[in-house]
Amino acid sequence: MFVLVVGGGKVGYYLTKELIESGHEVALMEKDRVRAGQIADEIGSVVISHDGCEGKYLHEAGANRADIVAAVTGDDEDNLVICQMAKHHFDVPRTIARVNNPKNESLFRHLGVDEIISPTRMILGSIEQDIPVHELLHLAALGVGELEIIEARLQPGSPAIGRSALDLSVPEGCSLFGVIRDGKPTPLSAGTILAEGDKVIAIGRPDCEPALRDQLIGEPEG
């Protein structure tokens, strides 16, 4: 598989290194010549010292035959431009973008980026797992980025408490697939009565979130 990585920061560097070690063909674009030279010294002649935001250089880097383009610069706007060009000018089957500002996620999705990786969102999710929250947690993006794994922790005031999980009216495009109770995963069945403290895991499209929130979070007490 040929992967074109754009952005030679820490993420791009380690991603390229891991992909090479896994036996993939990889090219890394980094516009800073000094940084590009440092990386080339360490991992060999896979580094192209050009700006991946320019179509001409994306072409030179082999975007026309790339199976995946991963835009992992520290700049959301650049990552969006790179993925859009890869998708629309070079017909790259799969584009992956790093999104630093979680507020940009929906824009990236809307503009056709296949997969969105948000380190900020991941860290936020990890922090929120340990503190009481009244929101849905995004655990991961699935497939081409149109689906997410979502967690809801049932707290006092949740309309789902005391009801069977299978009786909840889950919105179309969303599916509940498990409950974590006392740290143990439990499959959903007709006999699964939801209780305070349960973590309900769902898979769904982002547009299902409001309805899912109504069903599982409701109006928290306090």
Partner: protein, 152 residues
């Protein structure tokens, strides 16, 4: 002190660029290899840009690439010496030459360097020779051609 009876080298990789220095470096290598019957390997690298996969059939179809090897072999023959030739495809010439020398356990790389100036007048050494000098595990001889008379 260096042992004067030790061979200068036992296996040398000659980097053939297809340029005007190829004949002179093959001739020199042939003469230097003769006393110790050292092995000479002429390597020409066809650089493949990233728009093509590395295994695209480019070098095999290239008459120019074959001609580079033929001229080098003929030059060695004219000096009554045998030169094995290798045609490679790579993303980067310098890295390919160093890798080939390492794989073949060569103890010398010989490169030719044409005398060129950049726009503005500075001497242009290019990227390949510095890469080889920096990364080759073995000795490297760089033979720079003479400065043209009008520039001397």
């Amino acid at each position: 002190m260096a042992d004067s009876s030790a061979p200068q080298f036992r296996r040398a990789v000659i980097a053939l660029s297809g340029g005007r220095t190829d004949r002179s470096i093959v001739a020199l290598a042939s003469e230097q290899a003769r006393p110790d019957h050292a092995e000479l390997i002429g390597v020409h690298v066809v650089e493949i840009d990233w728009t093509l996969p590395l295994d695209a059939d480019v070098a095999g179809r290239s008459e120019d690439a074959q001609r580079v090897l033929d001229i080098a072999e003929a030059t060695a023959e004219a000096h009554r010496y045998k030169l094995d030739t290798v045609l490679l495809q790579a993303r980067d010439v310098g890295a390919a030459i160093v890798d080939e020398a390492t794989e073949r356990d060569a103890d010398l790389i010989i490169c030719g360097l044409p005398f060129r100036r950049r726009f503005g007048g500075d001497f242009a050494i290019g990227a390949t020779i510095p890469y080889i000098l920096k990364n080759a595990p073995c000795a490297v001889w760089v033979i720079r051609e003479a400065m043209p008379e009008e520039q001397a």
